[in-house]
Structures are given as structure tokens and as C-alpha cells.
């Protein structure tokens, strides 16, 4: 049987090339691996090897020929004992495979709805009416969530810097070593890149790791594993393997710790498909969402805030209290403006709403709580009622969460907006150390009030 040797594609982008030189001649015997020719691509001169054994029956394209299209027959290979005359009857080359026509994009991405129909949103309370409540700090709530989940599931463990014997750099893991022992509460060396990778590998091996970063600033050393290893594997494996892992720690500015320790990563991680991203404000949300995060089959980026750790909130006394992802919480109902925030931004938002109420401006305050999936439906419904929106976050202004909310409102609630959406954000600067400058770099209650006055023209 004769075999046609076709002009090969020798790079991801090659469509044609020059047949620079033949290294075999008609009548030569070749075996797999022998170099047949040199071919010049758009990038380099490449050697082209034989795959099949045989005798070169005929060379169809002379050396020096330019612009030879990929998949053009360039020579004919005969099996031993065959005659070169058979060449004439060799079949012509198959047409090159084209995939473009078949791979037409779906008409519209599911995320892009057209009409501003009022979306449904789940506004049910986080716990049943009449549930007994107790005061708890965010720190205690996070600690309780982990302890409860570790009691419930032996495969849950926590690793990170100073989580065990030191009892947590911010005391979030206090007492866990005593209760669960060193097998499940593991002090790591200061090697974020390495232990984040070990955590992801452990999640593939049948465990449910909680990886604590002393702060999210240090997780920049580990971001490759959070995104490339954890977030993308379910997709890359065609659904075979997921990464049930929680990455958690304090995020954003604390107080006077300078530029390298004061960054808010909410918008960074919220952009990544395959992740769930949570940034709780209250102790109840921290507890309910962290428990959901530990049970979730996907990688969860859990962004806490050092300043909020010591704040107290009411938390329901329930044996097993969880909050689902993708469900915003309306902390305060109002009719004149919607303030959308999350995490520490909620403190400015709620304070501003309180002060605005004294002046007769009724603000509705929406806490996104999870940034991926993001409950934009609740925001849209609220804006359909108030017709105005201000977003509040501590992160930088470019490509912020507020920018995204603004875009969604423009696409889905354009006709309902009576004023442009204003994004209150951190300033577009690295965090300064000086107390006065740091204050200026963050957003503030005053800025939120000013923004609300602008959008309400009052």
C-alpha cells in the first residue's frame, strides 16, 4: 500500500511553509524517526521525521518550493516490494479538516439576558423566626464553624502558618489543636506557594483541607495553585476531578500595616470561573458561609477582615447553621437609593444609611456576601425600586466589583436608573503608612453619604 507523505503543520499557527531541503531521495529506504526533509515554518527551520517504514517512491514537491500548504502531498512512500509505478494510482490528499464552521459560538452567553424583567431573588431570612440568638464575634464564629465541621467530617483538616501551637496569628484557630490534635491542625513552614499546592493535592486525594493564609497578601505567592491548580481542574478534567478546598484568611487593609499588607483581593478572585468567592461581614454570615464553604465540592476563596474579627453580632443558636452561596442579604430596607457592599464596606454603608435617614433619605443596604456566584438579581430588584445605586468597597477602583455591578445594572436595569451608578472604592494608590494618608486612601462613611446625595440629587 502506498502512503502519501503530507506537508506537516509544525507549529500551532503554521498554514504553509517552504520545503527547504530533501534529506532523502527517490529509492531510499526510510524507517520511523529518520529525517526526511527540512521545512521552513513561520518561526524556524524544522526537521521532518518519517513515521512509517518504506521506500521513497516519488518526491512530489521539489526542494526550494515556497508556500506549500499544510496537508499537500509532498512525497509517496512505498512498502517494501512495491513499484514506483503504483504512485500514479495513489489517492489524492484528504481535504484538511476545518472546524471553524462547526464551532459557531452559542448565540448568547447565558449570563447576558436582554430584557429588564424583574428577576426572582431569594430574600428568605437566614434562620427561622423565633430562633434563639447569641452574641458572638466574627473570630468566634469562624472558629466555631471550623470546629463544628471538623467534628462532623474526619477528612476536614486545617493547615497554615501558626494555626496550631501559636493558636492562630489572629486567634481564629484558637483551641483547635487541643481538640483535634496535630494530625488535623498543622503548622506549616512559611511557604505559601508550597503548602497551597499540597493542600490542593490533598483535596484531590480525598481530604477537605482548610488552608489558612496569615493574610491574603501572602497568598499572591500561592495564586498559581488557587487559580491554575484548584479552580481550573474540574473543567480541564471534563468533570472528573474537583478541588474541595477552602482558602481563608484576612483580606484588605488592617491599620497602618503599609502597602504590602493592605490589599483587597475581592475583584481579583471574583473574576475567576471555577472558584467560589465569599467575603462576609457579620459573625452569622461568617459562620454560615464558612460551614457551607467547607462542605462545598469546589475551591472557595474566603476573604475575612482583620478589623471585623473583634466585632460582635447576633448568631442563631442552631445545631447546624449554614448559608447558601449566591444569596445577598438586605440589611436595611429603603426606597430612595440602593447601597451595595460586602465585607468591611458594610460598616461604611450601614453607618451612612443611618445618617442619611436622619436627613430623610431612605437607603436600602444590600450585602453581597458572596462575590462568585454573585446575587445580582437582588441588586437589580432593589434598584428597580429605588432607581439609584451606590457601590462600596475598599479595593482599587479599576475593574472593581462596583464596576461590574454598574455594568450589570446598565445592561439589565437601564430604564430604571435615574442617575449614574457611583462606585465608592479605595483610591488608586498603594496603601500609605501615614495615618492621615491611609484614612484618605480608604473609602469612608462620608464618601458614601456624598455619593448618595449625588445620585439622589439631594
Amino acid at each position: 500500500m502506498t502512503t502519501e507523505i503530507l506537508m506537516p503543520a509544525l507549529s500551532p499557527t503554521m498554514e504553509e511553509g517552504t520545503l527547504a531541503k530533501w534529506l532523502v531521495k527517490e529509492g531510499d529506504s526510510v524507517k520511523s524517526g529518520d529525517i526526511l526533509a527540512e521545512i521552513e515554518t513561520d518561526k524556524a527551520v524544522m526537521e521532518f521525521e518519517a513515521v512509517d517504514e518504506g521506500v521513497i517512491g516519488k518526491i512530489l514537491v521539489a526542494e526550494g518550493t515556497e508556500g506549500v500548504k499544510v496537508n499537500t502531498p509532498i512525497a509517496v512512500l512505498l512498502e517494501e516490494g512495491e513499484n514506483a509505478d503504483d504512485v500514479a494510482s495513489a489517492a489524492s490528499a484528504p481535504a484538511p479538516q476545518t472546524t471553524e464552521d462547526k464551532a459557531a459560538a452559542p448565540k448568547s452567553a447565558p449570563a447576558q439576558a436582554k430584557t429588564p424583567a424583574a428577576p426572582q431573588s431569594d430574600t428568605s431570612p437566614d434562620w427561622p423566626e423565633g430562633t434563639e440568638l447569641q452574641k458572638m464575634t466574627v473570630r468566634e464564629a469562624l472558629n466555631a464553624a471550623m470546629a463544628e465541621e471538623m467534628r462532623r467530617d474526619d477528612t476536614v483538616f486545617i493547615m497554615g502558618e501558626e494555626v496550631a501551637e501559636y493558636q492562630g496569628a489572629y486567634k481564629i484557630t484558637q483551641g483547635l489543636l487541643d481538640e483535634f490534635g496535630p494530625k488535623r491542625v498543622i503548622d506549616t513552614p512559611i511557604t505559601e506557594h508550597g503548602f497551597a499546592g499540597i493542600g490542593v493535592g490533598a483535596s484531590w486525594g480525598g481530604l477537605r483541607p482548610i488552608v489558612e493564609f496569615m493574610t491574603w497578601n501572602f497568598a499572591m505567592q500561592a495564586i498559581d495553585h488557587i487559580i491554575n491548580s484548584a479552580a481550573k481542574t474540574l473543567y480541564m478534567s471534563g468533570g472528573q476531578m474537583g478541588s474541595p478546598i477552602v482558602f481563608r484568611g484576612p483580606n484588605g487593609a488592617a491599620a497602618r500595616v503599609g502597602a504590602q499588607h493592605s490589599q483587597d483581593y475581592a475583584a481579583w478572585y471574583a473574576q475567576v470561573p471555577g472558584l467560589r468567592v465569599v467575603q462576609p461581614y457579620s459573625a452569622a454570615c461568617a459562620k454560615g458561609l464558612l460551614k457551607s464553604a467547607i462542605r462545598d465540592p469546589n475551591p472557595v476563596v474566603f476573604l475575612e477582615n482583620e478589623i471585623l474579627y473583634g466585632r460582635s453580632f447576633e448568631v442563631p443558636k442552631l445545631d447546624d447553621f449554614t448559608i447558601p452561596f449566591g444569596k445577598a442579604k438586605i440589611w436595611r430596607e429603603g426606597s430612595d437609593v440602593t447601597i451595595v457592599s460586602f465585607g468591611i464596606g458594610m460598616t461604611y454603608s450601614l453607618e451612612a444609611a443611618e445618617k442619611l435617614a436622619e436627613d430623610g433619605i431612605s437607603a436600602e443596604v444590600v450585602d453581597l456576601r458572596t462575590l462568585r456566584p454573585m446575587d445580582t438579581d437582588t441588586v437589580i430588584r432593589s434598584v428597580m425600586k429605588t432607581n439609584r445605586c451606590v457601590t462600596v468597597e475598599e479595593g482599587w477602583p479599576v475593574a472593581s466589583i462596583g464596576n461590574h455591578i454598574s455594568a450589570v445594572l446598565m445592561q439589565k436595569a437601564f430604564d430604571y436608573l435615574d442617575a449614574p451608578v457611583i462606585n465608592c472604592t479605595g483610591k488608586d494608590v498603594p496603601m500609605p503608612y501615614a495615618a492621615n494618608l491611609e484614612k484618605l486612601a480608604l473609602t469612608s462613611t462620608t464618601e458614601v453619604i456624598d455619593a448618595v446625595r449625588q445620585v439622589t440629587y439631594r
Binding site: P8, S32, E47, V51, P96, P189, G205, G206, L234, G238
Partner: protein, 339 residues
């Protein structure tokens, strides 16, 4: 390259040796076919062939037991075939088709099989090293005696996270074998131009991890070293390093003209060190197989490879809906929660 140590009459059964021959030949023929399909435009993007390195994975798989795990970088086709993954599913992934291991969504560099305990297929040099240690961490935590083969190259051996991992693997006595496939070129950079000391297997010394250099063109030497490493790990003694000296005959990827080395250097390796030829000689000279036996194997392998290529061409492209699947796992986070 150290001199080959295997005796002319090795202490191995005809059956085993024939199996290694078959397994190595499958990888070589499969890769040659993949190169051909790439040339025809049926495989796109990056495609890193394993030709020349076959003895590494075949030798180590011969030392592995059911339940052991393996993870590697992007030059991964050989590892998948050696651990028993279906050539059809691998080839169909290369062509980006529905019948591929990742249903066409992973490609050459990203395939997985939890069934065969193969955990990828990773595109970031060095990243699979802590991931492999993590798999070993899980086995230790779960209290079984499985080991994880974590493969990486001489290029990856210069990545910082490798040493972070060595430290933790030694500290926690993780059952992980770090397999450094030293094919002597990190893409186009010869080892002597990128690596301060030539012996990478010494690099565990700082962490108390034993290491040894192995002739990677000799499948029996690889198997023997693998067995030693596996015994060390299974006994709970922590990690082990194997630096396996090997050689890649083809370029780094399909678009690499390999001008950083001479044609003579490659030819010399092929002529004098080829791992498949070595086993072929052992089989024939030892009277363990006849020319006809080997011809029959060649034909059988060619058949398997041709069928995998046919399957990879005929399998349809993934449905357009697949764009939106497998992003987030289906099980709702609240499924187990009490209401």
C-alpha cells in the same frame, strides 16, 4: 549518561521483559502517530512528545502497585499509556474530541483518570510537585500505604516550590517519590547552562531526602531503582528522589527546531542508547523471544495505535453546551445541610 549496568542475561522473566518491550513500543508508536496527526492539523496547540524517554515510565510502573498514584507535567502521554489509560481516550483528547479523557476540554497537557489514579497533566512547570506531595499527604492522613510518583523535569528542578515541597515532604515523612526526568534540556536550555550543580539527585540532601541517579535508557535499572524507592516510602520513611537520566529525541514541542543541539548528538543517543532497542536485544540474545514474536508485537501495537487514531478522528467534537459545563461541581453546597 552512566554506562548501562544491566547484565546480558538479566534476572527478569521473559514475560515481564516482553511486557516492557510492548509498553515502551506502544508509547513510541503512539507518539509518532500523534506527531503525524499534529502535522495534519488534527492536533493543535502545544504537543510535547515523549519519544526517547519511554523506559522511565515503563520501568517505574513496573515497580508500582495498584492504588499508587502518579502526577506529571505536560509531557504526559507516556505516563498515561504506561499506567493503563486507554490509548483511544488519550488520542481523542489530543484531537479535542468528545471521546477524550477530558471530553476535549483539556488537551495534550491536561488529562486525568481517577480510575487509573493519574492526576494530570499540568502545564505550569513545577506546580505538580507540591500537588503530588499533597496526594501523598492524603494517603498518609488516610492511613494507607500508597505512594505517589511525582514526575518533573530537570527544568522544573530549579523552581522554588520544588524545595518548599522537599522541605515539607521530609518534615512530614510523606510517601512521595520525586522522579526527576532529566532529559538534559529545559526546553532549549542545556542543563549545564541552567543548573549550577550537575547532580540534581543530591539536592534532597539538604532536607535529608535520599536520592540516586538512574540510567533512564535502561528499563530494568529504572525498575530496580523504583522498587527501592517504593519500599522506602511504603515503610513510612518519607520521600525519595530518583534522578533519571534520559533523552528526548524530538523537540521540546512540535514547533521546536532543536537547534540547541546537534543532529549527531541525537543520532548517537538513538543508535547507542535507545531503550527499546536495548530490550529488543535482551529478548533476542537471551533467547527469550524470536524475531517473529517481536514482529507480531510490532503489528499488534501498530494496530492499537491506528485504532486510537481512527477513534480520535471519528469521535465528534464536544457539543457546544460543553462550553458551560464542569465549571462548578453539581452537588449543591446545602445538600447536606439541615433545614
Amino acid at each position: 549518561m552512566p554506562p548501562r549496568k544491566s547484565a546480558a542475561k538479566p534476572n527478569v522473566s521473559a514475560e515481564d521483559l516482553t511486557q516492557y518491550y510492548r509498553d515502551m513500543l506502544l508509547i513510541r508508536r503512539f507518539e509518532e502517530k500523534a506527531g503525524q496527526l499534529y502535522g495534519m492539523g488534527l492536533i493543535g496547540g502545544f504537543c510535547h512528545l515523549y519519544i526517547g524517554q519511554e523506559a522511565v515510565v515503563v520501568g517505574l510502573e513496573a515497580a508500582a502497585e495498584e492504588g499508587d498514584r502518579r502526577i506529571t507535567t505536560y509531557r504526559d502521554h507516556g505516563h498515561m499509556l504506561a499506567c493503563g489509560m486507554d490509548p483511544k481516550g488519550v488520542m481523542a483528547e489530543l484531537t479535542g474530541r468528545e471521546g477524550g479523557y477530558s471530553r476535549g476540554k483539556g488537551g495534550s497537557m491536561h488529562m486525568f483518570s481517577t480510575e487509573r489514579r493519574f492526576y494530570g497533566g499540568h502545564g505550569i512547570v513545577g506546580a505538580n510537585v507540591p500537588l503530588g506531595a499533597g496526594l501523598a499527604f492524603a494517603d498518609k492522613y488516610l492511613g494507607n500505604d500508597r505512594v505517589t510518583f511525582t514526575y518533573f523535569g530537570d527544568g522544573a528542578a530549579n523552581q522554588g516550590q520544588v524545595y518548599e515541597t522537599f522541605n515539607m515532604a521530609a518534615l512530614w515523612a510523606l510517601p512521595v517519590i520525586f522522579v526527576i526526568e532529566n532529559n538534559q534540556y529545559a526546553m532549549g536550555t542545556a542543563q549545564k547552562r541552567s543548573t549550577s550543580s550537575p547532580d540534581i539527585y543530591h539536592r534532597g540532601a539538604a532536607f535529608g531526602i535520599p536520592g540516586e541517579m538512574v540510567d533512564g535508557m535502561d528499563v530494568l535499572a529504572v525498575k530496580a531503582a523504583g522498587e527501592k524507592a517504593v519500599a522506602h516510602c511504603r515503610a513510612g520513611k518519607g520521600p525519595y528522589i530518583l534522578e533519571i537520566k534520559t533523552y528526548r529525541y524530538r523537540g521540546h514541542s512540535m514547533s521546536d527546531p532543536a537547534k540547541y543541539r546537534t543532529r549527531e548528538e541525537v543520532q548517537k543517543m538513538r543508535d547507542e542508547k535507545d531503550a527499546i532497542e536495548h530490550v529488543r536485544e535482551l529478548l533476542l540474545s537471551g533467547g527469550l523471544a524470536t524475531e517473529d514474536d517481536l514482529k507480531a508485537i510490532d503489528k499488534e501495537i501498530k494496530d492499537i495505535v491506528n485504532k486510537s487514531a481512527e477513534f480520535a478522528k471519528e469521535s465528534p467534537e464536544p457539543a457546544l453546551e460543553e462550553l458551560w459545563t464542569d465549571i462548578i461541581a453539581d452537588v449543591a453546597p446545602q445538600e447536606e445541610a439541615t433545614q
